[in-house]
Each structure stands twice: as C-alpha cells, then as structure tokens.
Symmetry: C2
Subunit: 334 residues, 2 copies
C-alpha cells in the first residue's frame, strides 16, 4: 500500500484530501504539526487520531513515504511541492498549487527533472456531478457545445479564516484561489488545453479589509464555445451549504444544469443534474456516483500511467488561471 | 372605457398584448388585417372573433380610438407608432419598439411633440416574478446588490417563423430583439437609467441562414453593480416551455433566483422565486401575483400620469440596447 504524509495543515481542505486518499487504499503515516491555524491542526487530529505528528524534514527524508498531500498557505505550496519532488515524493496539492507564474514554471521544471507527479485536487476531479455532466456532453446528447455558464459563490466564514486568507500576497487573488476550478472545468468541456480571455474582471464590493477581492467574472473562448464564470464570496449565512454552485451548458441540441452543492428549497443533498434534450427533460441524482480521482492518483503513484496529470492539462489550467488573475480589469464599487 | 385598435399583426405577441389590454378594461374596436404572416392573423381572429377587420388608415383616422397596440415587423414599428401619435393616439408596442437609433430618436421626438404615450411591453413589466424580485431587492433583504446574472434562452421554432425573423435588417439583431428585456431588467435592478458596456458579444454558432445571430452575452455596470446577460436561440425541443429563463441576484446580505418559465423537473408552472438571506432560505410562488402593466397603461391613457413611461426609462433601455447591438464583438464558431 502506498504510504503518504500530510504536510501544510493550514487549510481545512487537508481533511477531505486525506480522507479520500485513505479510502482509496493508501496509508497516512504522519502529519507535520506546523500550522498557521491551530484549529486546522486540532481538526486533523480529531479526524485522524491514528496519524502521528512527525517533523516535516523527517517526513520528507523518509524513503518509505511515497507521496505527500499538501494544503499549506498557498504562497508556500509550490516550494514545498518542489522540495518533496526533489526528495523522491509525488505530490497531491490543494488548489491553488501555485500563485505566480514563476512558481508554476518552477513546479513544471521540477516535474520534468524528477519524473514525480504533481496533481492539484481540482473541483472537476472530485465532483461526481461534473464528471456526469462531462459524460453527457461527450455522449453528444447536447449536440455541439455553444456556451458554459458557471456560478461559483463561496461563503466567507470570516470567523474561521486565518490572517493569510485576506492577504493577496499569501493566497494569490480570487481567480487564482477559487477561479482555477471553473477555468479548469471550462477547458475540460471545451476539450482544449488553452483558451482566449475575452473578459476578466475582479471586483471589490466592500468586504473588509479594503481591497479584498470578493467578486470576479471571467469569459473564455476555446474549442468553438464560450464560457462565463462568476466567482464570489457572498454566500449568505442562511444558505445551508457553502455555496449554491451551478453549471449551465447550452448545446445545439440540448441544455444541462448542475446544482452542485444543493437544490435550494428542493431535493435533499447535492449533485443534481438536469438535462433537456431534443425529446424530453430528465433528472439525474449524481450523489451516488463514485469519485475516481483519489483512486486514480494512488494508481498513478504505483504505475506512473499519468491518469491525473492528463498530459499537462493541470498545468494548462493553472497557467491560464494566473493569466486571468494578472490581466483582470479591476472594478471597485463606490 | 378606452378604445383601441390592433395594428401590425405580424408577431404572435399581439395576442397577449390584446388580451392583457382587454382584461385591463379597454375595448379592442378593430384590427388591421394586413400581415406578413397569415397564421398570426388567423390566430388573432380565432382568439378575438368579435374584433372586426378595419383598414389601417381608417383606424388611425378614427378619433374615437384612444390608442393602438402594435406588433408589426420590427423595422416598421417606429414609423407606424409615429404616424399613430401624430394622429392623436397613444401606443403600446411589442419589443423591439425601434431597431435603429435614428428610429428611436424619431419616436422620442414624436413623443415630445405630441405628448402621446409610447410604451414598450418589456418582460420586466409583464412578469410577476420579476416584479416580486424587484420588491425583494428594494426591501433591502439582499443588502446592497453586487451582481445580476440573467439567462434568457429562446426556442427557435423555425417552422413558425416568417422570413423577416431571419433577416437582421428587418428584426434588428439578437440584442435589439430579445436583449432589450434583459438590459431593461438590469437597469431596473441597478436603479439607473444608463450603464457602461463592459463587454458585448454576438455569436453565430451555425443556425441557418449563415450569419444568423443565435447567441449573445452582454456585461453592464451601473449603480455600483455588475450584470451579465446571456441570450440565445437554443432552447431544445424537449423543454416544455419556450425557454428556461433565469435571474440570479447576488447581494451583500442575500441571494435570489428566479425560474421564470418553468422549474425543470420540479414544481408545476412558472414564476418561481428562491431567496437565501442572512437567516434562512425561502420559496415564493409568484404565479398568482397580478400584472399591473396593462392596468397602468390604460390608466395612463386616461390620466396622463406617466406610470408606464417611468420618466424616460424605456427610452434609456432601448438606447442602451441599440448601443450594445452595434458595438458588440462578433464571435463566429468554426
């Protein structure tokens, strides 16, 4: 069984990643207790009491450890990933895996030089509903795709956030941080590895501290289709989930909607898929579908087949995301 | 009781306008049988067998007729409206009321000179769900508005369309034709009479004839908020309505969604409103709400109070729409 360590216990996403990897048949042999957020560390220990604390250097030096899972402060993720790869370890990293193009290039060079795996746990990979929507789109049921609209609201949860969450130099900006999911998703539906940025806007609507990027909208074109993605930190407290994420596809023969997180005032649970095609409408509950990502990653660690590297698509998605972040027009509401 | 005539029986919208005006307490005393589409004329006669055919000139000369309702070929609407106003009649016109800025200026001048009413039957005015959403937004429940996203798909219904429907010189282009609803709606939510065009794109995704504008997306900014509106002619045949129209509002304290036409694979009927606020989520069925527009128009005809002119907002919405149509970037999918 592949053995791994959890490093960078700065963001709660480490919980899901660790749980997913354990369920996929790998063993978490230790966690680095260094953290910027003691709540995250405490939560990790509560969920995984059998995983002992071990210093980072000792974990990275341990030749019996095959890979690390990483959710450090975003600014530090690329560097830790590169150190791990240079010491013979594969890496699964929470998004964003890199917050500057220099960092991303350095990661890419390290992957080339070491032959190690660097996989970003993007929403497309961990969402059964998105996987089901991709299957519908690829089946031809919707005809040729025309347009994608993605709504990706997030809850701010101010009380739970460490200081770096509000420091753009540390987290990389709203498109870098949460837009990478939507941009990667667009590339997957368009079936391309790059796209033209038709429009990119970052908005500051008054969330404190001043200048905090609480809104963004990106329009991309590629693969003969267009896609507009909205990101924001305005999920209201009364919504019983962290964000009412949606995906709308328009094709020449059909349309599709995903209600990823919840069906507001409707069905229980998440992962709801709705299709209208030439003949009828239909509903599919995707919540029972299996998520292949963690199993694919563990299999990649074993046989190096590259399932989760997808011939560089992850790098392409991250690179385009960073271009959107840097080139976005700024909108500051008065 | 105010008396009116139906002129320009070229588009089926004449049915709803006539029915709405009759229900609001005015009398349809005749219809002009001239048409580009005999099916529309036949449908009118079937629905309103008591309304006699009378020549257009005779209707316009009849001093007992207070106003006309107009759904001619879009290219001709401004001119007919101006003729009617110059002959002492108010006008309710199907959208688009004008397809060039010269036409719009001429209408505006005629309104100024004659003191007549020129009202475009925009979707905001005839939709109880949009009226309810405006009431929620104005109540402050959503906090300060940040963003509006509107999805406005339409069914092509090729077999039912007359030739002018596919001739841009006759109908004015996709933004002029169907975008005016969304743009007017944005101005109403933003509480402004004009907006900045951040992006406008018209797409041709292969709907015949070549070059037919089957897709558009417009991003506007005004009143401290941003809005993105998608229009298209891709409603699939299997959807049990002409288009799954949606409206999403994001505010600093809450969010709102409208499912205007239908709740796909869900509740019966249309006009469904969903809110998430600081405390909870809630659903409101808006289908039983009354539509004030026709009553307001008939009252305006009587007392000239200007309810449906809204201090020129209709002109502002039409003017901004025509600017979007003319300035839009073109995207032709290969």
């Amino acid at each position: 069984m592949p053995r791994f360590a959890a490093i960078g216990l700065d963001h709660r996403h480490i919980y899901d990643l660790t749980a997913g990897l354990r369920a996929a048949g790998s063993v978490c042999v230790g966690h680095d207790p260094e953290t910027s957020d003691p709540h995250v560390l405490a939560g990790f220990r509560k969920r995984f009491p059998d995983v002992p604390p071990i210093g980072r250097e000792q974990l990275l030096d341990d030749p019996s450890i095959d890979f690390i899972v990483l959710a450090a402060v975003p600014r530090e993720r690329a560097d830790i990933a590169i150190q791990a790869m240079r010491r013979g370890k594969d890496v699964m990293v929470d998004k964003p895996g890199a917050i500057t193009s220099d960092q991303l290039s350095a990661v890419e060079a390290a992957v080339r030089e070491t032959g190690r795996i660097w996989s970003v746990a993007l929403g497309r990979l961990t969402s059964p509903a998105v996987q089901a929507a991709l299957a519908v789109a690829r089946s031809g049921e919707l005809g040729r795709l025309v347009s994608l609209t993605s709504l990706a609201p997030h809850r701010l949860n101010r009380a739970l956030r460490p200081a770096w969450f509000f420091d753009r130099a540390a987290y990389g900006g709203i498109i870098t941080d949460i837009g990478v999911h939507s941009i990667d998703q667009f590339l997957a539906f368009a079936g391309v590895d790059d796209a033209t940025i038709a429009a990119a806007t970052i908005g500051c609507f008054g969330t404190q501290p001043a200048g905090f990027e609480d809104f963004a909208e990106v329009t991309l074109r590629g693969g003969g289709m267009t896609g507009t993605m909205r990101l924001d930190w305005f999920t209201p407290d009364g919504l019983p989930d962290w964000g009412d994420g949606r995906l709308f596809l328009v094709g020449t023969e059909g349309t599709l909607e995903l209600r990823k997180n919840l069906d507001i005032e409707g069905r229980a649970g998440g992962d709801h898929l709705f299709v209208a095609n030439r003949e009828r409408t239909r509903y599919q509950d995707c919540s029972g579908l299996s998520v292949e990502y963690y199993r694919d990653f563990v299999a990649d660690v074993r046989d190096r087949a590259g399932r989760t590297m997808e011939n560089g698509r992850v790098f392409a998605a991250c690179r385009l995301t960073l271009r959107c972040q840097v080139s976005a027009e700024r909108f500051v509401a008065d």
